[in-house]
Assembly symmetry: C2
Homo-oligomer: 196 residues x 2
DNA sequence: CGGTTCCTTGAGGATGATCAACGAGGGTGG
DNA sequence: CCACCCTCGTTGATCATCCTCAAGGAACCG
């Protein structure tokens, strides 16, 4: 695990336990009260909401080394979204009180969390403005840009459904829009795979 | 100023300066790099984005005592949105380096900021899910709920345009939807004023 | 090879956007 | 006090984008 939010060894000294999840399993659900601090050991998770009509909205993905679900823990509120294993994966967790204790006893870690939270807000503000009030192709471009690593054209490892869930669009709209973008040379589709 | 994020006296010992803005004046703009830590002394500000077609999206309002624009400051990034005086108002500000110094020298304040950032994320996650993927009346209800203080029916102090900017809708849509909600007794409109 | 997941296409529909006027109320200066 | 202006609210008509529904097709995996 590279650059874990909190080193595993440290977590272990505070009584951390490890747990495996199969792809699709729920780690916690919207509206529950948090009891643990979580970190991804391997694999990744998806944070998401489901609306009245069953349509899903993806708040974000969390990869190996990243912590997730801390804000509600810090402010004693219910989870605003659910967390699901996006692949077979492993998490490490410590009980709430232990987490607070870690923050107290390790000022540098507390500071790291302040920076992390700031980064998350920045991210969410950017994502919001890129989705709300924007046309389908703009939303998709914003998504692709944010998940792109380098400058070269690269394979986008998300299904059209996943892109739809993240951008607040429907699969069919994503398919048609992407086709259009390909026609305008804004991206490439080879073998149903998207390169951007 | 009640419950200011950082007490004014303390800010002053770190060289804070005060500045007044007229309603509509810009305090900082999207894409600029931050140089100051800001706090509202009186009045309020609006954080917002403008899209290609000039349509505005309101990220949030910040009232007296609240700090704003800290996340980009903490992570050395550009502002993702602009800040404008929503009324005639006053801010207090300290230079970036002084702000970091305050955090270093006052652990309790650093902790307060961690909590504050967590609260903001929680808020943004909630707002996102209430806007993206939702129908007009749901968006408006979510907005009204979030800005409502008590349990009694109360006057909503926002224009329809402001509601539109916050919910990602158009004024006309807000007007028509509110009219409809009034017909369904979900709120009241007397003298053009909204009670909810 | 069969099942599962993902992708695709077309037709039709609905919600919200756009455009163009106009109305209402409040404040200001003559 | 009245006229004017400015901001905000309102309405109707038309339009566009995206959604919905329904039906297959393609790719991949065990």
């Amino acid at each position: 695990m590279k650059n874990p939010q909190i080193p595993l060894e440290l977590l272990i000294t505070y009584g951390a336990t490890f747990k495996e999840y199969q792809k699709g399993e729920i780690i916690f659900s919207e509206n529950e009260y948090p009891n643990y601090y979580f970190q991804v050991v391997s694999g990744s998770i998806k944070m998401f909401n489901t609306n009245d009509e069953g349509k899903e909205f993806t708040q974000g993905y969390f990869l190996r080394g990243q912590s997730f679900g801390e804000p509600p823990l810090l402010i004693n509120e219910r989870y605003p979204a659910s967390a699901m294993a996006f692949q077979n994966m492993e998490v490490v967790r410590v009980p709430k009180q232990k987490f607070f204790q870690i923050l107290e006893e390790h000022p540098q870690i507390q500071k790291d969390f302040l920076i992390l939270m700031a980064r998350r807000i920045h991210n969410k503000a950017t994502t919001s403005k890129d989705i709300i009030n924007q046309k389908a192709d703009f939303r998709i471009k914003a998504f692709l840009n944010s998940y792109k690593k380098g400058d070269e054209k690269e394979l986008i490892p998300f299904t059209r459904q996943e892109i739809a869930n993240f951008t607040g669009l429907r699969v069919e709209t994503v398919i048609r829009t992407i086709k259009n973008m390909a026609k305008k040379k804004q991206l490439e589709v080879r073998d149903h795979k998207i390169y951007y």
